[in-house]
């Protein structure tokens, strides 16, 4: 998103405007008030005496609130106005805007203040793809409010606009004729409410919680959120900034679903991905587990409630499958898009089990594991019954919805992300390597849950046997002998897709790698073809499709690195894990603590600073979670029984570090460490205390 746009949000409602606070959207333009994937305002223009305003400053007060300081007139170098205009806007189920005009003159002033309002009720998908609407628009004045509406058959959405000060309301907006006394001021509160049709009916009461009181409780909520998380004390100030930024952004990324009132799970990214994503919500919950474990619980419940129950080709749904993405707009309603929800993801289902087990290991909450026993069994069943598309014992993917389904159903989901060394692209189905790792881990962890919580030893034995068999076959079939690494995928003929990729990190994390092969894998991850000095590249230098600014073919993804660091720790390579953490956290400093989704794969010696990859979404949930997981891996936090093991290996530049009040089954625990691992690219010194 371009930097001269201002965005604020709450849950799945957000506003994107220019720096004057105005919205002037075309069908393809991304500004507006959006709620549940629908644009409820595409025009919101303020004029004073027929003139547009000029921005002096914009204060982002909070992620849900902003303030615009404006003066009349545009285009002049000097601003010498007797009038100031302040728009203070907070998002709720729409937004509330306090509009204040200050007269600095020593005589009264007569003003015509006007708000132009309109809505195209575009679906987010339409904004992305510039599609045309088929329904009809209407506009009326009802009970002192302006009502903008859209109707297509039974589908109906409305925007309600009202003002606390008396206004002349007409179908295209509101007008105020006011006289402001000398040195005086005039103010009104404008309320914009997004009405999401009858399916949201029982939520109407939430409109009352908007306004000043709701605003106070949101601000308090954010303070409480930060207070509840572990406290970080550290000699390196930039790490404290990054940590705080992560907590605030994670708060902003919280998404609530009507089915679980009062709870929230991480949405994927702000603003265009403020919705439930299986993969993103799970990865982010895993990263944040030592800090905010309640996110994981809500993720498990929300995804469990929507678990697939039958075979539906349009939605790529199978029994037991965990959803990929949920959407609420018009195109989803009329089944022009499959997102109600869409299930085309091959990793979310095994990762669901991984999260459930990891959650229990941290929190000791067995009640949830018992509650989700059916969901977990159905997910494990999916791996064997529905995910083995080639009948070779490996998880693979191929979309059944060929029109609007996803081609690549792994996290590297761009068209060219999966290629052979020579650049050719394999056919479908594709059995990418990390999926086998996740499936292995799901079986191992599922076995533990079956034995310890569900008291089903025979199921546990079966899962363990399957896991061991999968590991044995995987280490044989995916191992590229000459190069000593694991192939990215197996193709339809069972041949290796022989590129060297960051997926190796996920394999270490999953535990599927034979101990005897780990050293070679680590050598690749930390070697110059993959490790840029900032982090591990998605695709190694020297591969056919390598491009340091290619989305999944050469850039460095912070989230990818955080799981690689976890994997390195899992196999005992704690100094290497610390070096990955050091690179990514150094990069975070360049982005004021907010890691982007991805940055360029250029070598650190060449660029001296990380080159941001231009993407639409910031913050992105799993980039936000990255510093949290890196803190975990650097401190070597590992729950074992009712204890938390602390085994720090910190980069030298970090100095002394304390993470206080880490929540878990042990109550609260403090962890300490001192940085001793050299972050130098090729030298590794010994460790920590």
């Amino acid at each position: 998103m371009s930097s001269d746009l201002v965005q604020i949000l709450e849950g799945n409602t957000f506003v994107v405007s220019d720096t004057r606070g105005d919205i002037e959207a075309s069908l393809t333009d991304p500004t507006g008030l959006f709620s549940f994937d629908t644009r409820f305002l595409s025009r919101w223009l303020l004029t004073v005496n027929g003139q547009r305003l000029n921005p002096l400053s914009v204060d982002d007060l909070n992620y849900f609130e902003t303030r615009f300081f404006l003066v009349p007139g545009t285009g002049t170098v000097y601003v010498d106005s007797k009038l100031s205009v302040i728009r203070q806007r907070a998002v709720g189920d729409g937004f509330r805007e306090q509009l204040t005009l200050l007269n600095h003159d020593d005589k009264p002033v007569k003003l015509a203040i006007a708000i132009e309002a309109d809505s195209d009720f575009a679906d987010l998908f339409e904004v992305k793809d510039a599609l045309k609407k088929t329904g009809a628009y209407h506009s009326r004045i009802d009970d002192g409010r302006l009502v903008l509406g859209y109707k297509r058959e039974t589908y109906e959405r409305e925007t309600l606009v009202s003002s606390s000060a008396p206004a002349k309301i007409h179908p295209k907006g509101l007008e105020f004729k006011v006289t402001i006394p000398a040195k005086g001021e005039w103010s009104t509160v404008l309320d914009v409410v997004a009405v999401n049709g009858t399916w949201m009916e029982s939520d109407q009461h939430t409109h009352d919680r908007r306004g000043a009181r709701a605003h106070l409780s949101m601000a308090r909520g954010l303070d409480k959120w930060i207070e509840k998380a572990p406290r970080l004390e550290c000699e390196k100030d930039s790490l404290k900034v990054t940590y705080r930024r992560s907590l605030i952004d994670l708060a902003a990324l919280r998404f609530s679903t009507r089915s679980l009132p009062g709870r929230s799970l991480p949405a994927a990214g702000l603003p265009w991905f403020m919705t439930m994503f299986g993969r993103d919500s799970i990865f982010t919950s895993l990263q944040a587990l030592p800090f905010t474990p309640e996110l994981a619980e809500t993720t498990l419940l929300a995804l469990g409630e929507r678990q697939g129950t039958h075979s539906d080709d349009f939605r790529d749904e199978d029994p037991g499958r965990i959803l990929h993405e949920m959407r609420y707009g018009e195109m989803t309603a009329f089944e022009e898009r499959p997102h109600s929800p869409y299930y085309g993801s091959a990793d979310a289902t095994p990762l669901y089990i991984v999260l459930l087990d990891e959650y229990e290991r941290w929190t000791g909450n067995r009640r949830l594991v018992r509650q989700l026993e059916y969901e977990a069994r159905a997910a494990l069943n999916w791996i064997n019954e529905y995910a083995d598309l080639m009948g070779n014992g490996y998880v693979s993917y191929q979309r059944r919805n060929e029109k609007t389904g996803l081609e690549n159903q792994c996290w590297k989901d761009s068209w060219d992300s999966i290629s052979y060394h020579d650049g050719r692209i394999p056919g479908f189905p594709r059995a990418t390597c990390e999926l086998q790792g996740y499936a292995y881990d799901a079986k191992v962890r599922g076995a533990r849950l079956a034995r310890e919580v569900w008291k089903d030893g025979s199921f546990a034995n079966t899962l363990e046997k399957e896991a061991a068999d999968l590991k044995r076959r995987f280490n044989r079939d995916y191992w590229v002998q000459d190069g000593e690494y694991f192939a990215l995928a197996l193709d339809t003929e069972g041949k290796q897709v022989d590129t060297l990729t960051s997926n190796l990190g996920h394999l270490l994390w999953s535990g599927i790698v034979d101990k005897s092969k780990a050293r070679a894998v680590v050598r690749h991850l930390m070697g110059p073809r993959l490790f840029s000095g900032w982090g591990i590249r998605t695709l190694a230098e020297g591969e056919g499709r390598y491009n340091p600014i290619g989305y999944h073919v050469g850039t460095v993804w912070p989230f990818d690195n955080s799981f690689a660091a976890w994997g390195l720790r899992r196999y005992g390579y704690k100094e290497e894990a610390a070096r990955v953490a050091a690179g990514i956290l150094d990069a975070a400093e360049f982005f004021n603590g907010r890691l982007p989704e991805a940055f360029g794969g250029y070598a650190r010696e060449i660029t001296l600073y990380p080159v941001q990859y231009p993407t639409a979404c910031s913050p992105q949930a799993w980039s936000t979670g990255t510093p949290l997981l890196l803190l975990r891996t650097m401190l070597g936090l590992e729950p074992v029984g009712d204890h938390l093991i602390v085994d720090p290996a910190l980069p030298a530049g970090i100095g002394h570090l304390e993470l206080l009040d880490i929540p878990g089954r042990w109550g609260r625990i403090d962890a300490y460490g001192r940085g001793r691992v050299s972050a130098g690219a090729h030298r590794v010194r010994t460790t920590t205390r």
């Binding site: 058959e153 039974t154 589908y155 109906e156 049709g197 009858t198 399916w199 009916e201 029982s202 679903t257 009507r258 089915s259 679980l260 419940l301 409630e305 929507r306 678990q307 697939g308 129950t309 039958h310 075979s311 539906d312 939605r315 029994p319 037991g320 609420y328 707009g329 018009e330 989803t332 309603a333 009329f334 089944e335 109600s340 929800p341 018992r370 509650q371 026993e373 059916y374 069994r377 159905a378 494990l380 069943n381 019954e385 569900w454 089903d456 025979s458 199921f459």
Partner: protein
């Protein structure tokens, strides 16, 4: 009237217990309109035990739609969430409970080989 709706509720009534719902307690009422008439089905779940009636009593979740739509959902021809977004199905009250119960809709009717009954693999005895 013998249709998918009647079959569905009769099957639930006959089974009397659905292990998949053993952590679920609550009531859902389905108000199904057919022309001018509305038929109510009242589903009471208590730790997996199911009682079905035509009571028009208060429930924690209430689903209102055409009977034809309910049949379509049970036969897998209509997606419940998309229908709700279109406004042809109204869900009030405890949506979590409704989502849980709605997962029973298709399972019983899925004839695909290998599909676990009711969409869930059962504990091996």
């Amino acid at each position: 009237m013998a249709d998918a709706t009647t079959d569905f509720f009769n099957t639930l009534q006959r089974r009397g217990h659905e292990p998949f719902l053993q952590n679920t307690t609550g009531s859902v009422r389905f108000d199904l309109s057919d022309g001018d008439s509305v038929e109510s089905w009242y589903l009471r779940v208590k730790s997996g035990d199911i009682a079905v009636s035509h009571k028009k009593a208060e429930a924690e979740a209430v689903v209102s739609c055409d009977r034809a739509l309910m049949n379509g959902m049970l036969l897998g021809e209509i997606n419940a969430m998309a229908a709700a977004l279109r406004g042809v199905l109204v869900a009030q009250g405890d949506l979590g409970l409704m989502l849980t119960v709605a997962r029973l809709f298709r399972g019983a009717y899925d004839a695909r080989p290998g599909a676990p009954e009711a969409g869930y693999s059962r504990r091996k005895k």
